[in-house]
């Protein structure tokens, strides 16, 4: 059961100071040059005052865009291999939205599918999430169509909901309780505040969509929908649940590193075989893969969706491939 408190606005700096004193980095949405992005902050004043979401997602905290996996040096007779150690700085994600907080679940499903990925897990263990519920939305949001909601507690260790004079704080996990213990004075007893968040109407029937996809693989709809997609990776790179990566090596004559970097199933190289054959030769097939991965294969394999309805892909897409709209169309009989 979640314990609820009142967290006055004036106490936030005390909370931030306590977290910093405990050696934790705080990442929060900031407004820099007119862009809302996650940055390290020292005080609550630095947090963006008004935002719907950050452009990039919070996944970077657990799945950075580049991660070193190993280092090798070429000796005279042998190659010396060295595992890289995960760089897992104790971090608090402050002010991410409930959709993004729950997005870590979809990453976890892949990184702990059979092998437990030690880099991802080390970072997750060092990560605590203070989500903030939404009092605003835009046309790209569709969390309620994929099982989430603007006040959903899933994925947050503490969920804050803005109320008069501060926040209603729902403390949800041991990590959340540990943060409260660091700044006990900041949290006051809940005087029975009402949790009010923005309304996000359900846009399409998701279980219906997932059923419908079963026999829509060969449908012409994917070609029609994807005609304007330019096959860049913007949607995947901003997505909190997209988990595809590439493994590359950077080396010189003496040695080098093996790196893991973000990748996207939207590009033609993604499935290109060494033989020259490409099973996903057209953009239509790649767009279909994006939809199926999130709405058919994820539910089949992990019993969850690979999309949290944050709408970041829609906002980032240079040609306005509005995902919600395409899903609603695909869900129709």
């Amino acid at each position: 059961m979640a314990e609820t408190f009142f967290l006055p606005q004036a106490s936030l700096d005390a909370l931030f100071a306590a977290l910093a004193k405990d050696g934790r980095r705080i990442l929060a949405p900031t407004d820099r040059d007119g862009r809302t992005e996650l940055n390290p902050v020292a005080s609550f004043q630095e947090v963006a005052a008004d935002y719907i979401q950050t452009i990039l997602s919070a996944k970077e905290a657990a799945f950075p865009k580049v991660e070193r996996l190993m280092t090798f040096t070429l000796g005279a007779k042998a190659v010396d291999l060295k595992d890289a150690e995960p760089h897992a700085e104790p971090t608090v994600l402050f002010g991410v939205r409930p959709c993004e907080a729950s997005g870590f679940g979809a990453l976890d499903a892949v990184f702990n599918w059979d092998t437990r990925d030690r880099f991802f897990n080390a970072r997750m263990e060092a990560l605590a999430i203070i989500g903030v519920g939404c009092t605003k939305k835009d046309d790209a949001c569709f969390c309620t169509s994929v099982g989430g909601g603007p006040g959903s507690t899933r994925g947050s260790d503490i969920l804050l909901t803005p109320v008069e004079g501060g926040f209603l704080a729902e403390v949800l996990t041991p990590k959340g309780r540990a943060m409260v213990a660091l700044a006990p004075g900041a949290f006051q007893p809940d005087p029975g505040l009402e949790k009010k968040v923005v309304e996000v109407p359900v846009a399409f029937d998701q279980p219906g969509l997932t059923r419908r996809l079963k026999d829509r693989f060969e449908d012409g709809i994917w070609m029609e929908q994807s005609l304007r997609c330019v096959g860049c990776g913007a949607c995947a790179y901003v997505c909190p649940t997209c988990v595809c990566f590439d493994i590359v090596e950077e080396a010189d004559a003496k040695g080098g590193h093996r790196l893991r970097t973000w990748d996207s199933c939207g590009g033609p190289m993604f499935t290109l075989h060494a033989s020259g054959h490409n099973p996903r030769e057209t953009q239509a097939q790649r767009w279909r893969q994006r939809v199926y991965h999130k709405f058919s294969y994820y539910p089949e394999r992990y019993d969850m969706l690979g999309c949290v309805g944050c709408g970041k892909c829609t906002r980032a897409c240079p040609v306005d491939m509005n995902l919600q709209e395409h899903l609603a169309e695909a869900a129709q009989a």
Binding site: E37, M223, L227, R228, L259, T261, T282, Q283, P318, V319
Partner: protein, 263 residues
């Protein structure tokens, strides 16, 4: 006659297989639409909010397969079309450009050239100002500016994929046997990617600004290619997109070149 009516006519008569234009998108934005049936022509809109350079679609296999197409084209798209013709990427007979309010038919390279001659290229005020600011910086300051900007690049390639002049089926960035440019989005990988891209667009960039508009993290990446375009213009007197018959400055030479090393 308006654009919708024109599109209907063209599709009904079978003169074109599709009309590439804009429709209303999310939050009032404009986005590309491909109208293949006359009865769908009323989706088309054409107004000041239609910014994207639709010429980027003309080299795509899916679009080429359709046959002859009409495309609503402002000056930037028309320049891109001429440059693509100069680079032998599209053929006159496969294309009908709809200029002005969308009813001015330009069916040949010559017609496009004549139409464009009426409207000299002007950069948006914001780009002009930023370019001036960059021009006034010394090397170290400019270096710092781009280092800071590029540090946010996630290597999504939205800039490359949106660009009408980035049509290569196999891009240097994607080469892995051998790999020329680091794949990873770190300081070196980002710098090399953008240097290579800027060099590949020197004298070919039609200054539409689409690469910058496409960037999800808001890097004014188009200014790099604008700057290279301007250098080629100053050095060789050429402008990308001015003619469908252009001997590209960086891939040709003249026996009477003033530089002696070339002989």
């Amino acid at each position: 006659m308006d654009l919708r009516e024109k599109a209907r006519q063209l599709l009904e008569s079978g003169e074109v297989k599709a009309v590439i234009g804009y429709e209303k998108g999310t939050m009032g934005a404009r986005r590309p639409v491909f109208v293949k049936k006359a009865e769908r022509a009323d989706r088309l809109v054409l107004d000041g909010d239609c910014a994207q350079n639709l010429a980027t679609y003309l080299t795509r296999p899916e679009i080429r397969k359709l046959g002859r197409v009409a495309i609503t084209a402002g000056p930037d798209a028309l320049r891109a079309i001429l440059q693509l013709m100069a680079e032998r990427q599209i053929e006159e007979e496969n294309l009908l450009a709809l200029a002005g309010d969308g009813t001015v038919e330009l069916a040949s390279a010559q017609a496009i050239e004549e139409h464009l001659a009426l409207a000299p290229k002007e950069l948006p005020a914001r780009d002009r100002e930023l370019l001036e600011r960059l021009g006034k910086m010394d090397r170290a300051e400019r270096w710092a500016f781009w280092q800071k900007e590029l540090s946010r690049c996630v290597k999504c390639y939205a800039c490359r994929n949106s660009c009408p002049m980035c049509y290569c089926g196999h891009c240097t960035m994607d080469c892995n046997r051998p790999q020329w440019v680091p794949v990873a989005s770190h300081a070196l990988g980002n710098l090399e990617y953008h240097m290579v891209r800027a060099m590949h667009l020197a004298g070919r960039c039609v200054e539409c600004g689409d690469c910058g508009r496409a960037c999800p993290v808001g890097i004014p990446i188009h200014l790099l290619t604008f700057n290279c375009e301007e250098s080629v213009h100053q050095q060789f007197g050429q402008r990308a997109g001015a003619s469908s018959r252009l001997d590209y400055a960086l891939s040709t030479f003249r026996p009477d070149d003033k530089e002696s090393f070339i002989r």
